[in-house]
């Protein structure tokens, strides 16, 4: 049986239910046992009339990014979908409305743009929707049903997913949508299928200790928080981090956790740090503009050595920037963005499963090293859906507090005692004999204000060096290498959400015969310099692709290693094109070859 690898794009105007249709599609297919990677693009407008695209790639085997060409395009709004007809491959399907409301000028209908190699499927979406529901709101579901019927997916999993989607609404709403789906489905089944898009069988997982689910990065963060027994959360809505708070708002009260929407980010981080002081596992979530607002309070977290976890989902910047577009341009802000020497831990997961791990580990590290921990995601990863295997048993500790013991408390408790591992035993409010005062001022071991030069040097060293221990952290993958082993022509050093594209590019390059490997760096601060240097030693040319303009990661690496890399930066607001990266890799492989030949010639000359 052929492996399934289908990418479906649904494109419409905001309000058409584009994203909702994509959501049902990916949930249903994940339920059916497929691997799913999905990413939506939606406009910054309120509901307005902007373009929405939901892209879902469904596969039998694990893949790492979306494809550049889709197999099916569903148009819910021609004006938005027409520019995307070209992304459908030859013999792929284009599904569209063939009974629009009003007349259109020549060329304004999508059928005018379908190339001879693509297969057109027109259907009266709106009419069917209105017929079934007396309204046009179910057009997306009708189109989805048609798609499912056409390429032969199981209707039952869709019924369940639709019921889930509309749970809590009137039963009539669910019934109407199921009816709309079925009408579309029946029509799709009846339609003579001419494209070559087919669905194979899904593979069943064998891991008994894991549950397979489909979720996006933000949901994985939430799952990580929940498995790490989060207690308090304070947040302020901001795209694209809002859904973390929304989900936690549902989940946390169920296990006695508390969540509060504060009036702004300033208040959110303040409350988070306050809760951390009180010993609660706590977090907040924001994006670049909110992180900027939090900078001052994070400085307090550093100097006061209090645990807090900040989930940051990056979007296009600077300032309000591109609220609904993805970018990796808050690296500098996360790593450096505080007044004074304010080093903290920054983790950047590269996929949805990583979001889960990093979220849980962030709490452990924050407590263990008594520091704010930023988990750096971006819109692409926050909203990208993947099927993941999550352990049935939580792998995270309930607390990693280095609690002040009886002997620590005897004879004047030193909140900032210099110890071997540099993390001081911590007393929590309510603990007997542990009373102390926290301040943003520089302080001595007791926590009392001190402006002595030696104290500032020692405390600065303490705050800096205690974090280095996190580099030897056994429980988290700080760096990991894929592809060819040993010396390679091109080594790709990637980080964050973009690493999926790096992997796809690496695999493609290897297919072309280029010796190539890719390494991901998950911990951005402090930086795992040892393995990075090793990787650079093994790589003829080091290729560092990332989604920001300045090459923030490349600069970080170059600054830390004093070695040069090939920085490759793009800021399209969308994921990087694998094809474009491949062009660059080929170019670098040629440079490497030329150098090799040069070297050999030189060597021969020498010998002669």
């Amino acid at each position: 049986m052929k492996n399934t690898d289908i990418q479906i794009s649904i494109c419409g105007s905001a309000g058409d239910g584009t994203i909702a249709a994509g959501d049902i599609l990916k949930r249903a297919l994940a339920k059916g046992g497929f691997k799913v990677i999905a990413f939506d693009v939606y406009p910054p407008e309120i509901r307005g009339f902007g373009k929405c695209i939901s892209r879902v790639r469904v596969t039998t085997e694990q893949v790492y990014s979306l494809k550049h060409h889709s197999d099916v395009l569903v148009s819910l709004d021609d004006s938005h979908a027409i520019p995307h007809v070209g992304e459908v491959r030859d013999s792929g399907a284009v599904i569209y409305e063939d009974t629009p409301i009003s007349g259109v000028l020549e060329g304004s209908h999508i059928s005018a743009h379908i190339s001879p190699g693509q297969i057109p499927y027109g259907l009266p979406v709106r009419e069917i929707s209105e017929k079934e529901t007396s309204g046009n709101r179910s057009r997306n579901i009708v189109a989805l049903g048609y798609l499912a019927g056409l390429i032969g997916m199981e209707p039952e999993i869709f019924h369940e997913t639709i019921a889930d989607k509309f749970r809590g609404k009137a039963i009539k709403i669910t019934d109407m949508n199921v009816a709309a789906f079925d009408k579309g489905y029946a029509l799709g089944q009846k339609t003579f299928k001419l494209d070559d898009v087919t669905v194979g069988k899904a593979k069943k997982s064998r891991n008994k200790d894991a549950t397979i689910t489909m979720m996006n990065g933000n949901a994985a963060v939430v799952q990580g928080c929940m498995d790490a027994h989060i207690k308090t959360f304070f947040g302020y809505p901001i795209t694209p981090a809002t859904t973390i708070m929304e989900k936690l708002a549902t989940e946390m009260p169920k296990v006695g956790g508390r969540l509060l929407q504060t009036e702004d980010e300033i208040s959110a981080i303040a409350a988070t740090i306050g809760a951390g002081y009180a010993g609660s596992r706590c977090a907040t979530a924001t994006s670049g503009p909110g992180l900027a607002l939090m900078a001052e309070m994070l400085g307090l977290g550093v100097v006061a050595e209090l645990p807090s976890v900040i989930f940051v989902s990056q979007r296009g910047g600077p300032s309000t920037g591109l609220p609904t577009k993805t970018e990796q341009s808050d690296l500098n802000l996360a790593v450096y963005g505080r007044g004074g020497d304010g080093q903290i831990i920054v983790l950047a997961p590269t996929n949805v499963e990583g979001c889960y791990k990093c979220a849980g580990k962030a709490f452990e590290m924050a407590e263990q090293y008594q520091t704010p921990v930023i988990v750096l995601l971006d819109l692409y990863l926050s909203n990208r859906f993947e099927t993941v295997e999550l352990p049935k048993q939580s792998p995270f500790t309930k607390t990693s507090n280095k609690a002040a013991k009886k002997k620590d408390l005897e004879g004047g408790y030193k909140r900032y005692a210099f110890t071997k591992d540099l993390a001081s035993p911590r007393a929590l409010p309510g603990q007997e004999n542990g009373m102390h005062t926290i301040t943003g001022l520089e302080h001595n071991e007791l926590g009392r204000p001190s402006d002595q030069p030696r104290m500032h040097e020692d405390m600065s060293a303490k705050r800096h060096n205690k974090l280095l221990a996190a580099l030897s952290h056994h429980d988290i993958t700080i760096e990991k290498r894929f592809g060819d082993e040993g010396d390679v022509d091109v080594g790709i050093l990637g980080w964050g959400s973009n690493f999926g594209e790096c992997l796809e590019a690496m695999f493609k390059a290897r297919e072309e015969g280029i010796r190539c490997s890719a390494m991901k760096v998950v911990m951005l601060s402090p930086l795992p310099l040892g393995p990075i240097n090793d990787f650079m030693d093994a790589s003829g040319e080091v290729f560092v692709p990332e989604l920001n303009y300045e090459g923030q990661f490349a600069n970080l690496i170059q600054g830390a290693t004093a070695r040069s890399v090939h920085s490759y930066t793009r800021v399209p607001g969308s994921p990087m094109r694998v094809e474009d990266m491949l062009v660059e890799i080929r170019r670098l492989a040629k440079i490497k070859k030329a150098k090799k030949i040069g070297k050999t010639k030189k060597a021969k000359k020498k010998a002669a």
Partner: protein, 297 residues
């Protein structure tokens, strides 16, 4: 509210009337991007009518906003506009007005922008009596970020961040603004565009800080609470015998949140920020106010 008469209306008569009226001059070319049915359309209509009726030229008007659905407003009127940062509307507006007294400055914003993130600024702009108009679009929800609870969300209201009901008691903006010292406080309703237009006109005409609170349904994210259907049943006009110079009566009336009275609550004439600044200039023995001098030319 709506034409319940069966008497026919003739389009060409109506169009001629609207064209000669001049209101359209205050609209931008671009169509508003609010969700169809949004109460903000009503406010937009009211503001343009009011400016037109008061004969304030578009060039002399500045509309300042922050972040949120309502803060898109400057894009839909044909005046000077300033779309600033979340919650920071009022300080920017104060700066604009202080720089040029001749401008009519209208600050617009929503309940989240004004009473959550920007709440700290409210009290100060009110007590200083900056001569600007603050039009507060209250839909009791965060629309732009797709439906979270706001400071004016009702108790028990369910949103995506209060999935188990909102337990935070909503603010009483009218009482706050009355107590902060707003020199003009009134309330309108998007579902009653006629009355709303009159209120906006009065608010702009007032010399001093005027605060107009507008109840406006979010048709997309609030299907249960502050809907047109519910508000239509709740709102009522302020009784004719209300004395708008009586602050205590106004505060008492502001308590009636279940049957919100529509109209002018309180009005007081007192020196504005600019008056005070002029006074200080004089006291310090300095020269003539630069702003006024410019205007005099």
């Amino acid at each position: 509210m709506g034409n319940i008469s069966t008497k026919p209306v003739y389009l060409e008569d109506k169009l001629a009337e609207i064209k000669s009226d001049g209101k359209l001059e205050y609209r931008s070319k671009a169509l508003p991007t609010w969700c169809p049915g949004c109460g903000y359309f009503s406010i937009s209509e009211g503001v343009t009518s009011a400016l037109n009726n008061l004969a304030i030229k578009p060039k002399d008007t500045v509309v300042v906003s922050g972040i949120g659905c309502s803060s898109r407003f400057p894009f839909f009127v044909n005046t000077y506009g300033f779309h600033t940062l979340h919650g920071r509307t009022l300080p920017v507006a104060t700066g604009v007005k202080t720089a040029n007294d001749d401008l009519t400055v209208i600050a617009v914003g929503g309940d989240g922008d004004g009473f959550a993130i920007g709440g700290g600024h409210l009290s100060h702009v009110a007590r200083r009596n900056v001569n600007i108009t603050y039009i507060l679009f209250d839909n009791g929800i965060y629309g732009l970020t797709k439906g979270q609870t706001s400071p004016t969300s009702s108790l028990g209201f369910t949103t995506s961040t209060t999935p188990y009901e909102n337990h935070d008691r909503p603010l009483n903006p009218l009482m706050m603004m009355l107590s902060f010292g707003s020199s003009w406080v009134g309330q309108g309703y998007a579902g009653d565009p006629g009355h709303l237009g009159e209120m906006i006109e009065q608010a702009i005409a007032h010399r001093g800080f005027s605060y107009l609170h507008i109840l406006s349904p979010c048709v997309t994210f609030d299907k249960t609470d502050k809907t047109y259907g519910n508000l239509n049943m709740q709102v009522k006009p302020i009784p004719d015998d209300h004395d708008s110079s009586d602050l205590m009566a106004a505060i008492a009336m502001a308590q009636n949140v279940h049957k919100p009275p529509l109209g002018l609550y309180y009005k007081e004439d007192r020196p504005t920020l600019a008056d005070g600044l002029d006074e200080i200039t004089q006291q310090s023995g300095g020269g003539k106010n630069v702003v006024t001098a410019k205007a005099a030319e």
